[in-house]
């Protein structure tokens, strides 16, 4: 496969969220504001790409029995970098994201890509795959947070788009709306997928 194919497969065809229903904890939790989603997405792209790269480099020297532990530790190391960077440069957003930055470690997408791709392919391909999966994840987050922020606060990326006449839908800020929006997104994409298949 070429690099472009790897990227597109990871980002869309095998998108972790809507095809495999992985890593939706954070997809639901940080999507109340678009800015939070974007930062979270960038954090995931960074740690996913580099973790995939590192795991792929040492794939011949990792004993099978401790593979999972080694992968988790590598992922954790990169997530710590993201966390420290956010705390130092964007304390406000770091506070809003709270524990969800640390929870990137247990995000099933990272383990999933490490197992399914990085442990069998060369480092560069693995990195492209990581970036692809991360971009796919970020896109889903941005779509959900677009609707939640637009209806919940009347703004996009913190910029007011609706005038004073707009009444905020407080349901959009609360937890249930995240479940509904993700379900609707999966519904639309799956219906399209089955139509193409048939």
């Amino acid at each position: 496969m070429t690099k472009k194919e790897i990227f597109l497969t990871a980002a869309f065809k095998e998108n972790s969220i809507w095809r495999q229903i992985l890593g939706i904890c954070s997809a639901l939790a940080v999507t109340n504001l678009m800015m939070n989603s974007l930062i979270m997405g960038l954090g995931v792209i960074f740690s996913l790409a580099l973790a995939n790269f590192s795991i792929s480099i040492i794939r011949f020297w990792t004993p099978r029995s401790v593979r999972m532990m080694v992968q988790t530790l590598i992922i954790a190391a990169y997530v710590i970098i993201v966390d420290i960077f956010l705390k130092a440069n964007m304390p406000e957003i770091s506070k809003q994201l709270g524990p969800y930055v640390g929870l990137i470690i247990t995000n099933c997408i990272l383990m999933g890509r490490a197992e399914a791709f990085a442990s069998q392919n060369n480092p560069l391909d693995s990195m492209v795959d990581g970036i692809g999966a991360g971009v796919g994840y970020t896109l889903v987050l941005l779509v959900i947070s677009f609707f939640r922020e637009l209806f919940g606060f009347g703004s996009v990326f913190g910029i007011k788009v609706f005038g004073a006449w707009w009444t905020n839908w407080s349901i959009m800020v609360m937890a249930p709306s995240a479940f509904f929006l993700l379900a609707i997104l999966i519904w639309i994409i799956n219906t399209h997928y089955y139509k193409v298949k048939a």
Partner: protein, 195 residues
């Protein structure tokens, strides 16, 4: 934080349910909710592991990480503590209670990757709970998670899959059900505020 541990325990179950308001532990929640029995088994294991790891991680954080000034390593250390504890528990149950091992044992490896366990440890550090509060929060979160997965498993058993639109089958309809359940739990919010 001056909230009594007792209040925190109830708050963790109802007002800020770990799954329905904090979205933690979704992966195993969606995949193990097909049967009531396995949901109950996994939920019980989660309660136990959550309570103990919350206590362990609290001790490790305050007596190991803080004195040595290596708080930035908390993610790695917490993960190792959780994984080690689950592994240890598996060996112990297999050796001394084989009957329990067959009903509960298969769920134990799943727990290491359950983000609710790790999330509770992070929450208790961020919100600066004391030891008793952490244990109460851990136990309450576990019970809240069990409650959520049991409700979903019960509803899914009654659900007629054929009537669900094809694109919505599986994860989609589970998410909608969870959304409605979360809507119900919003009714509890405001009784106590813990965050």
């Amino acid at each position: 934080m001056d909230i009594s541990a007792f209040v925190l325990f109830w708050a963790a179950i109802f007002t800020s349910n770990i799954l329905l308001t904090n979205f933690l532990g979704m992966c195993s929640y969606l995949s193990v909710s097909r049967e009531l029995e396995s949901a109950l088994g996994l939920g019980t294991a989660v309660i136990f592991v959550l309570t103990v790891t919350a206590a362990l991680n609290w001790v490790v954080y305050h007596y190991l990480l803080v004195p040595f000034g290596i708080v930035y390593l908390q993610f790695i250390v917490f993960i190792i503590v959780i994984a080690a504890f689950v592994q240890f528990l598996e060996l112990l149950i297999e050796r001394y209670a084989p009957a329990l091992y067959y009903t509960l044992g298969i769920f134990l490896p799943l727990i290491t990757v359950n983000c609710a366990i790790f999330g509770v440890s992070l929450f208790m550090i961020i919100r600066d709970y004391n030891f008793l509060q952490s244990v109460a929060f851990g136990a309450g979160s576990g019970i809240g998670w069990l409650l959520a997965i049991l409700m979903l498993a019960g509803i899914r058993r009654k659900l007629k899959e054929k009537l669900v639109p094809i694109g919505l089958r599986g994860a989609g309809i589970s998410l909608i059900i969870t959304g409605i359940m979360a809507l119900g739990f919003v009714g509890f919010s405001g009784i106590v505020q813990i965050q």
